[in-house]
């Protein structure tokens, strides 16, 4: 029997964009156990709710994460709106959907770039991040910001997008789609990438379900689970289809994200075609008295924003259960039995967001 070694992996590692640590227990080159450690940068943002008025707190929710900024603000706002029985104007719901789907596109393109970098594909990394700029430019043009958008609020959104700009977004996404159609075959067909991903990091459909996988990780294992089908924001008016693969390996997770980028572009096109005229926000009166679990589909999967209020301007409790936290048990399961050389690819294809996890 081989001697057991413990290899520390992270919190600083070339393929880890954010701090998470694993103690990898190995026998030869095979991993027999993986013990994760988090909380290197835990911020305790949830408790800031005690010091911020529930209307202002949306700015804190916005800052939980850079990549999912808008969706955290939207999830928080939805929770408060449900408690208070606020009917958000239809146009605001469509605008939220458009910004949410743009966030998904730029998060997935960013993931493609980071993954390419991990494979040693420098030029592919640069190509991916160049294409991501298109989405960031749209953010800047429509919200005035590129990362923390700050455009969602309780009761609607802070800015409107005029018809000409909406048409411009669709045109720019059509052009981006052509570029991504050139780029994605490299991820799908390249021999080296397939060699690194196919059959690696397999997780069965049953394991994905019982271990609480969410987002692309669950869908790559054959679970057709997508919170957008709940019909929040304007998704109830759009043709949402969960992108599902069945092989459950790293390659399947890559394919799911690629297909989701194109689907998000289609959803934006649909939303722009159906967006009604009207106000984009309404005046919020009173304070939340009750509780609600808001569920939103982020780029990494289902996120829960729980809010509880007692009628005062300060909420009693705000909790976020982020998708990465939910995917960690499956991450441990996948790492067990894999080769040490595959660890970076496995962790990357799970797309961990430690900024969210360390909320």
């Amino acid at each position: 029997m081989a001697h057991k070694n413990v290899i520390p992996f992270g919190p600083q590692h070339p393929v880890l964009p954010e701090p998470i640590h694993f103690d990898l227990v190995t026998e030869d080159e095979r991993i027999v156990d993986a013990i994760p450690s988090i909380s290197y940068v835990h911020r305790g943002l949830e408790r800031l709710i005690e010091k911020r008025d529930f209307i202002d707190f949306v700015h804190v929710a916005d800052r939980i994460c850079g990549l999912c900024s808008f969706m955290h603000a939207m999830g928080y706002s939805q929770a408060v709106e449900e408690i208070m029985g606020i009917e958000v104007p239809e146009r605001a719901l469509y605008l939220r959907t458009i910004w949410a789907e743009l966030s998904r596109i730029h998060s997935h393109i960013f993931w493609l770039g980071v993954a390419a970098d991990a494979f040693g594909f420098e030029s592919l990394f640069m190509q991916s991040l160049r294409l991501r700029e298109v989405v960031l430019d749209i953010f800047e043009a429509t919200t005035g910001a590129r990362v923390i958008l700050g455009v969602c609020k309780v009761g609607g959104v802070r800015r409107d997008i005029d018809a000409a700009t909406l048409k411009g977004i669709v045109d720019r996404l059509a052009s981006l789609k052509k570029d991504l159609e050139e780029l994605s075959p490299v991820f799908i067909d390249d021999y080296s990438i397939r060699h690194r991903l196919v059959g690696v990091g397999y997780i069965s459909q049953q394991d994905a379900y019982t271990l609480g996988c969410v987002g692309p990780m669950a869908r790559a294992s054959g679970l057709a689970m997508d919170m957008r089908t709940l019909g929040y924001a304007a998704y109830k008016y759009l043709d949402v289809e969960p992108m599902v693969e069945t092989t459950g390996d790293c390659y399947a997770r890559c394919l799911v994200r690629i297909r989701e980028m194109f689907h998000s572009m289609d959803l934006i096109r649909q939303a722009v075609g159906k967006i009604p005229e009207g106000p984009v926000d309404l005046k919020v009166k009173g304070a939340p008295n009750g509780e609600y679990f808001s569920r939103v589909e982020q780029p990494r999967g289902e996120v829960i924003h729980y809010a509880k209020g007692n009628g005062s301007r300060f909420l009693q409790r705000f909790r976020v259960r982020v998708p990465t936290f939910s995917n960690i048990p499956a991450m441990i399961k996948v790492l067990k039995g894999s080769e040490v050389a595959d660890v970076p690819n496995i962790i990357l294809t799970l797309d961990p967001c430690i900024s969210c996890t360390e909320r």
């Binding site: 005690e50 679990f293 569920r295 829960i304 909790r319 939910s326």
Partner: protein, 148 residues
């Protein structure tokens, strides 16, 4: 409006049995969350099956132990360690117990009842009986301030 959500308060002693029943029915564990009350903790166990969202709720006092559900749902260990480290709620028999090292916080159990001050509920405005006034009030008049 949003999806319908069910919150079912149960006794702590029934927790593992009810959770095992939900597991047998095919529910997945979505999350376990904890909230600090005035002198107690409220634990919410959230489950989902085909987009039906169901919550079990137990309330425990500080120092009271809670049974782990990680034997039924192996992914519960992360939530249970989190609740232990942030709230100080002791969870018995977690399948992977970090022993208080999952979160490295500057202060111990930052979300516990000793550390959290809950907001006061708004005071109800008492309806004062209307009294006739001799002098009509001028617009912009500030109570307690005399004007020339």
């Amino acid at each position: 409006m949003g999806e319908p959500q069910e919150i079912i308060p149960i006794e702590k002693s029934d927790l593992v049995g009810v959770v095992a029943q939900l597991s047998a029915e095919g529910y997945r564990l979505v999350q376990i969350g904890c909230s600090t009350l005035e002198s107690a903790y409220e634990l919410n166990y959230s489950f989902d099956k085909e987009y039906r969202f169901k919550n079990l709720r137990i309330t425990v006092t500080p120092g009271e132990e809670v049974p782990s559900i990680s034997a039924v749902y192996p992914n519960a260990f992360l939530y249970e360690n989190e609740i232990h480290d942030l709230f100080g709620v002791v969870v018995r028999n977690i399948n992977i117990d970090y022993g208080g090292t999952l979160y490295r916080t500057a202060i111990k159990t930052p979300f516990s009842t000793e550390n959290v001050k809950l907001p006061e509920p708004p005071k109800q405005k008492a309806e004062a009986p209307s009294q006739p006034t001799d002098k009509p009030k001028h617009q912009g008049e500030i109570p307690g301030v005399q004007r020339d």
